[in-house]
Subunit: 187 residues, 2 copies
Amino acid sequence: MHMKKGLTLWFTGLSGAGKSTLSAPIAALLTEQGYNVEVLDGDEVRTHLSKGLGFSKDDRDTNIRRIGWVAKTLSKHGVIAITAAISPYRDVRDEVRGWVEKTGAGFIEIYVKCSIAVLAERDVKGLYKKALAGEIKNFTGVSDPYEEPTDPDVVVDSSVETIEESVRKIVAKLTELGYLQPHALRA
Amino acid sequence: MHMKKGLTLWFTGLSGAGKSTLSAPIAALLTEQGYNVEVLDGDEVRTHLSKGLGFSKDDRDTNIRRIGWVAKTLSKHGVIAITAAISPYRDVRDEVRGWVEKTGAGFIEIYVKCSIAVLAERDVKGLYKKALAGEIKNFTGVSDPYEEPTDPDVVVDSSVETIEESVRKIVAKLTELGYLQPHALRA
């Protein structure tokens, strides 16, 4: 299947909330349906496009605009671009939405919510402990702002949902919008 | 028409040699044949992906790798990415070729040759005069190196060819490789 216009699936949320964890099965489902899918992981893009940038607001904005520019360029040509960067600032996310929609492609913002309490408990990389102890500056959600989306297309909450429940919500939205066939998810 | 794997058309050559001038009609012909075509212009990419980078070897290499990474990602999804940046260093061009070919996409290096004498005479932006007077540091071909491709897929020479002649050479190569139908160029 080849769509003339593509889509940007924009995951946003705190570090460790589950953006990459959720984007992987969604990418797999869309690929299975014949779409060209490209996952733009925050870390990979930092390596290739944003080496040298730090975590000040300006540098974060620049990084997100670069991811957004690549997602826009891919979506314009029918690819489904999936991004999974924290993208803490609302105005830059909205700016990118504008770029993508201007090409005729779709833009779906997925807010992956999770409480700091749960994130600190999970703390896979040990970063929340350090940040809460004041040892990491500019740590989103602790010592740096995270602006929640005001009107996201999908909200999932990994504090209370299983991965399967969150995937189902996203699949439901993609089905509603015609990107996935009903029953794409058989599990 | 939708190809499973795309192509990167990599123009290289000195400033003012004719890279953008030649890429425009080629992009138009490929679009006319139904391909998804994206022109990654050196200046546009500098604005979106490489703001803050200068013209040292390291910064130039980083800029070219970023253009290359985007071209690779597009080509991987069936797009024809056309780049028109000076890209003075051979090793980085070859590195990008490796990335693109690894995805299964094609890579065609087009060397747009032009003598410094002719460029200085044309001097559309008045830059060669300044560079030859020693007023611009790191000016490719005058005060900074340009490494000619050792084995380009197409060579055009805008010192001695008309734009039409050069376009014909590129079209012939694209036809030979099956990207264009014979007689795509009717002029």
